[in-house]
Assembly symmetry: D2
Homo-oligomer: 310 residues x 4
């Protein structure tokens, strides 16, 4: 892992895993997403990772029209680094998923390092009433849905976004995804420094045991040495313990309602900023400092907030 003296907090404000009926605090409209992102940035997030949703029913929406309104607002009101998902939702085609990042050429876009099962259906035990028609089938459908990211898809996204100088939040849901990244590095399709986001606790990927975190870092260290910056996210209740372990190991962290709706046991987070605050306190309690957006830009060698297409 490359040396950093500041810790980058990424905040993933809404994502596509949770559905609106699960929490009244999940940002849905462009306004809510913009406010959540700006609030997270004010609380200390250097990067905001963004998905869009249909304002009518909260369904994941990967159209450029859905992204445009909040991108502009966030850019105007905050200096934070904007990171646009190419993951979208597992229900979408890859062409659809890459469109917003290709169109808006953000400083960072997410990129998933492999096809996998993505089991959302166990949430049906916890959440049983849904306001919108699409929610239950969306969760149920994850039994047979594959989150598609073939070698060809990855290559396509890499080539498409590289043209506009976008760098990647490289999402690794299992150890094999690190090896897939190494494969693309070897083929010269990804350039250092890599920003590796290790994802723990999704059914279908690696879980969130401390040994899993340790092996993920050990493997990335072996494969990428000083060429990568490491960030982690823990799904659900593992969010904060995973973040804490990563901080103790010198890594960066991602929080936000995309990854967890919670702020404590049985207690919904009222905002993305609340989670950012909590993890920031741990970082500062340890005597470490958080990176500002410009420090994150230097660390990750980003092109700058003025070189985007929105």
């Amino acid at each position: 892992m490359a040396n950093q003296n500041k810790i980058i907090i990424t905040c993933a404000v809404t994502g596509s895993i949770h559905t609106p009926s699960m929490s009244p605090h999940l940002p849905v409209s462009a306004q809510e997403i913009a406010d959540a992102a700006i609030g997270a940035a004010e609380a200390g997030a250097a990067i905001v990772h963004l998905h869009a949703r249909n304002p009518a029913d909260g369904r994941p929406d990967q159209s450029t029209e859905a992204f445009a309104p909040f991108l502009k607002v966030i850019k105007q009101r905050s200096n934070c680094v904007i990171n646009i998902t190419t993951g979208g939702a597992a229900t979408m085609s890859v062409e659809e998923r890459v469109k917003p990042a290709a169109t808006f050429a953000p400083e960072v876009a997410s990129l998933n390092m492999g096809s996998m099962n993505f089991g959302l259906y166990p949430m049906l035990e916890r959440f049983q009433t849904f306001e919108h028609d699409w929610e239950r089938p969306y969760l149920e459908g994850s039994r047979d849905r594959i989150f598609r990211n073939t070698f060809g898809d990855i290559e396509h996204i890499l080539r498409t976004c590289a043209e506009s100088g976008t760098r990647f939040e490289i999402e690794c849901y299992d150890i094999g995804h690190l090896y897939t990244l190494a494969h693309f590095v070897e083929r010269g399709l990804v350039k250092a420094p890599f920003f590796v986001q290790s994802v723990f606790g999704i059914l279908g990927g690696i879980a969130s045991h401390p040994e899993d975190v340790a092996h993920m870092k050990r493997t990335a260290d072996r494969l990428f040495g000083n060429d990568y910056h490491w960030s982690v996210l823990g799904a659900g209740r593992s969010q904060l313990p995973i973040a804490t372990q990563a901080i103790a190991l010198g890594g960066n962290v991602r929080v936000g309602l995309e990854d967890s709706l919670w702020i404590g046991k049985g207690q919904l987070a009222r905002s993305n900023a609340e989670q950012v605050n909590k993890v920031r306190q741990i970082i500062e309690g340890l005597g470490a400092s958080i990176a500002t957006p410009d420090e994150a830009r230097r660390i990750l060698q980003l092109k700058g907030g003025d070189k985007v297409s929105f």
Copy 2:
């Protein structure tokens, strides 16, 4: 890992990864597959893991007609445990893949614990001339092909085969696959003892570093305690080192031309039996013993070779 005093050698005689032009020793016809399986059993394999191929061009063939001829012959000429793939090839539908195991009700069927990329195309650098039309596109096509094993698919195969008392060689290509198995165990869909086959070295899955092997075992030990038997296979040139490490850790091993065409550096194995012999020597050199088919039946609690439908 459950205690065993004998080590089970599985031999996977032909599979669907390699194509006929890669080695003249790859069994293709029913006769060749039967001979290879029997030879492996005579050399010390307790279990033979079987795929079928079209005798005309060596293409993977999951029809029951393709399996029937060699199943009968092997059953007649050997006491070894017969294990029928439900993986088939990544090009096939799940319905097609499960047919032979559902029809013939073998003692063991393989079962893959997750959807994943399965990158065969790097072999195109090593192998450049192909006898058959289908070979190059088959390898090339792996860039965009997903080896599909959704939660729904796994449940379907578990339910289908469980009816006839077939047990599973549970193939885990990454750490997340172990957690997927734990998920099905928790749901009561798989019964101990589990026969976990950890697969190392497929592009898309975990690689074959000793730390990967260690973390795989550590995780399985934590999740399954004494409820599982552990076997490993290393793809390509990692076959023997991985087998050796597993033996040193007390595990079982799988060899065979499905997993590696080689017997030494740059040296093609002339038969499956040759690989079985080599790994057997290492086992016996360590003062350990190999399991006979009947010992494997006891260890894995199989229904018996007389309860199959062929």
Copy 3:
């Protein structure tokens, strides 16, 4: 590791590693030691681990006369669990070291699980002027000094203290010390629940890399299952990162000026309580709670503060 819902903070207020010239805040007199212990308890420490020093020059002093004054005061003014060292200083004989614990029969006494080198001399690079004659030779002498804890010594301390119902803070400075503990457990000389204090960062023992912490826990889990409670201490600047990693892994922590004089980079801690506060903030920041002295008594199955001989 046994399940706990509360985290036990131990504070080691003065020890015998540091010398008075290193920090004006190191407690030396009985009054200072009592105040430090009570302050630590008020800040959240459930257990205070105590050494005594000669009030004239701060030299480690293992006489019962040196312990008596502060033991009574602490007992009167605080409910915290008192833990008396049997480590003393590496310059002392084992008979001398065990005397205070044998005499005062505290609820907990420390017990070191092996003989080892204990290199204090590298501190001579940082600290160069000393007020007292004994300080420099004490540090220099660590080049040739062995911290003696033979199997015979350990057995002697176990038998001596067990009579009066004292339990142990079992200090493990390396992986082999865990196996030594397992050896005594097997011989029936130690009873569960074990309170294992893993020590990281002493020259001569294991260092403070996150992988070291992970392997320590992994080994203790394998050897002791649910029969042990785990606590860690990191020497010097590793104090807080090690504590944080342990908290993320579900463990307990030890802080205090015995282990580190620092509160931040280049910044001396002004009190033991300051370190307790800092680690407490991390614990509570994670949504966990600290154990009260009585909760620690229940968790560790201690005899009670009324059953001591002081």
Copy 4:
């Protein structure tokens, strides 16, 4: 770990752990030690690690007179690398222990990286009748004996032997010993390439679990990168499994009656050569090759068999 294409077998022919009544095959007289060493070399050992014994009763004897007779014979009759112990026996003073290596200036001398308990007494359960008076008290005495290797002692041995160009088999019985080596490397007292001999299974040191082996290698890799060559020895029945695991990890191995009297379960090895043969078969079974003495000299950068003082 530095790359090697050949595996170095060291054979430790008699040592000081076992006593003559434990096995009739333990070499005791100079003639027996010479024959054992030459036999081991002929079987494939590139290095022989040597202790001497009193021919009358088999007691460890660190006098130069005891070493001289077999050193000359081995040198004359074999090209193998001669490695003289500086460990001697835990009953001896350091001055006594270093004498033979200082006098004879061998190509390699062993060097232990820390003081520790060294528990031989559990062998009293297995071996109950002894021919010689000294044997039982020698084993019993290990309860209170410390194998002394202070920082000062290590520095003394390093400086004494370095003058004559002797290199070291650096014995590490626990993780902390690796860090002690790193300390001496940092102080410039040891020069690369380091030949690290990790010792597993001595009571007082790290045990012989595969995770212990993995963590030892992982730590050495992190501390020494390509500057070290790794060898392992497993005590007693762990000898062969540990060797096998190390071979699978790319390391070198040590066998011999110093480390284990056994060749199989309950079966005494009739010679050192028998153990060398067994491990050689595993190495060659894996398709690897053993190093000749001259290849070992090149790998470890030894001064040459003609530059010794015997």
